[in-house]
Symmetry: C2
Subunit: 355 residues, 2 copies
DNA sequence: TTGTATGCGTTATCAA
DNA sequence: TTGATAACGCATACAA
């Protein structure tokens, strides 16, 4: 039974008063500060016991004021709703947890204005570092500039910022593109429809390069009439709809192809939907491969063969990189941005087969 | 070119010095405090202009120390990876944004230990309120107790905590169950297989009750040999696998049914997979209905008919409720927990058809 | 081995 | 209309 429901916070001063020691001593003990080595065992025990009994809980805000460490990381996503973001978020959270850090979440909704406002808010909160999961967002050059001048250690995932201030983690898109086409080629497919990524998206070009290089290496021509182009649309579900639409158009033109290589998984799912509607069964009559290995891909019918981005790993890598940068800043060390390219992995499921 | 890369924070004192006024005046002006009414327009302008020019940014931590408001809300999820969580997170974020609040994210991974550690961390950070997205977690009675004694305004989503300290937002499961069976019934289905929810999950019982009541109301018997039971497993993808397995067993027993009512969407997708594998086409030979309307459901092939939980709305509702509680606490008002039941909605897609 | 004093950046009270 | 001062909770330099 509490006398008051709204009890006050127990502070170090309270613990000090209760134990008869000074707040300084209490601080030293409870933080296991270097000086704690000189504290008498009995003192230590008394303080620790009292703190526990009284329900003492350090005040992170007050602590920050002295230590300048907030033990929190700002995590900016371009769109939490995008299935691409969830595994990254998990990866970030999971790497932060053992470090005693907490993520403060900001969701830009793919809007620059929102991004900027959130950036401001995160800086007011003095996050120790920033992890930015970007894609469309960075189409805008200004946002880029914002990040470069942000006076906080920053890492981006999925986008590279020129300069040596911002580290990034990113999948090797070129290798991924190669993996995708190579798989189809080895299954015997020669007439392959392809849906290229939006022009302004950073992943599109290298992924396409991987495809081209492989085609050249096996002296296989890419039929331009089978190559489609995703438009520049900023929306999580857009690629599904566009995949559907483009595939439908292709079918109407009576183009012949035995396989379809989609820019990403949602596009692939849209394509499968269109194929199904037209009575083309996957994979019997047409193989389809995606990219990303988003959570849905394993559950769809047929389950989707795809090139996996190690998203959760990327989240973890990003955490390691910000932590490095934070440490460097604290120790006033020289430090320069790092780049982390992760390997994609072919995941063979039910949407592709040999002919 | 900065002389130092690591520049210091611009404080009110700095602005005060630059303008020749006192920090107090600066504070009054920049916060538009009540007293700002008496500040000379010229003063005001000079201060605001200088603050902007110097790049002054309030320090949220220091501000908290005085005001006791952190402008952040702890958001605890049982598993961010669960597709159930994402729309809720979006709803929360979106409602928080215009209020100038930021969510601090904690992901319990369905583990009690982790939940408790995170709760502690959030309290150290003095979140103004707490939103807990629960399901499995709360199977554990202790966690429940933790929340009741937490000295912070709290709202749960998807689980009810006895007592009048914790508000909650939840879908009307009974109505949802009814919606699902009613849909199948109206399509002419009479032999309906059902996969019930895990026994320990709070949604299972009311959802089943809705089904039973409807069956009674139309004098339709529920064939016990067509009723399956999801086991108590704590994992996001478990229900997919279990749906697959249970359906497979049902098919092996040569049970006849024209429709299948699954506890949730993932279970339904698992069931569809099993049906497809056995050569039973959906919806031609068997209709399937899910529950939740998770993001995947609209994209799967066939797209899934389901009972929609307004997840994003629930997130927004939760925010409103914590804010109420926070305001009450600040004003030292009496306040009692509220309950918010949201209406489910039938979403008809391609996985069901009439016979 | 422990205590005293100071300041982190703000805001609120009171005084001028 | 504005300024001086104190206090929020903590950590550290220095003193004892």
């Amino acid at each position: 039974m509490d006398a008051k429901r709204k009890r006050e916070q127990v502070t170090m001063k309270d613990v000090a008063k209760a134990t008869g020691f000074s707040p300084a001593t209490v601080s030293i003990v409870l933080n296991n500060a270097p000086l704690a080595r000189y504290i008498a065992p009995g003192t230590r025990q008394k303080i620790e016991e009292s703190a526990k009994r009284m329900g003492y809980r350090p005040n992170a805000m007050a602590r920050f004021l002295r230590s300048k460490r907030s033990q929190s990381i700002g995590v900016m996503m371009f769109d939490v709703t995008d299935p691409f973001c969830t595994p990254i978020l998990r990866g970030v959270e999971n790497a932060l947890y053992p470090l005693g850090y907490l993520p403060i979440l900001a969701d830009a909704h793919n809007q620059r204005e929102r991004f900027e406002r959130y950036l401001e808010m995160l800086l007011e909160r003095h996050v120790d570092g920033l992890i930015v999961v970007a894609n469309w967002l960075f189409v805008d050059i200004h946002v880029l500039a914002d990040l470069n001048k942000a006076e906080v250690p920053t890492v981006t995932i999925g986008w590279e910022i020129p300069g040596n201030r911002v580290s990034f983690a990113m999948v090797d898109n070129e290798a991924g593109g190669r993996l995708a086409i190579e798989h189809l080629y080895q299954l015997g497919h020669r007439r392959i429809a392809m849906i290229r990524g939006p022009k302004r998206l950073i992943d599109s070009a290298p992924r396409w390069r991987g495809i081209q290089k492989f085609a050249q290496s096996v002296r296989q021509e890419i039929d331009p009439s089978l190559v489609l182009q995703l438009p520049d649309v900023f929306d999580a579900n857009a690629s599904f709809e566009q995949g559907y639409r483009l595939t439908e158009e292709l079918l109407q033109k009576k183009k012949k192809f035995t396989a379809l290589l989609a820019f990403d998984d949602l596009t692939a799912l849209g394509a499968i939907r269109a194929l199904a509607k037209a009575g083309v069964s996957v994979p019997e009559q047409c193989s389809v491969i995606g990219f990303d290995d988003v959570a849905i891909s394993g559950l769809s019918a047929p389950s989707l063969t795809t090139v996996r981005q190690p998203l959760e790993t990327m989240g973890g890598a990003a955490v390691n990189m910000v932590m490095e940068a934070i440490k460097a800043a604290q120790e006033n060390r020289e430090w320069s941005a790092a780049a982390h390219q992760l390997h994609p992995e072919l995941v063979i499921r039910d949407s592709t087969r040999s002919i």
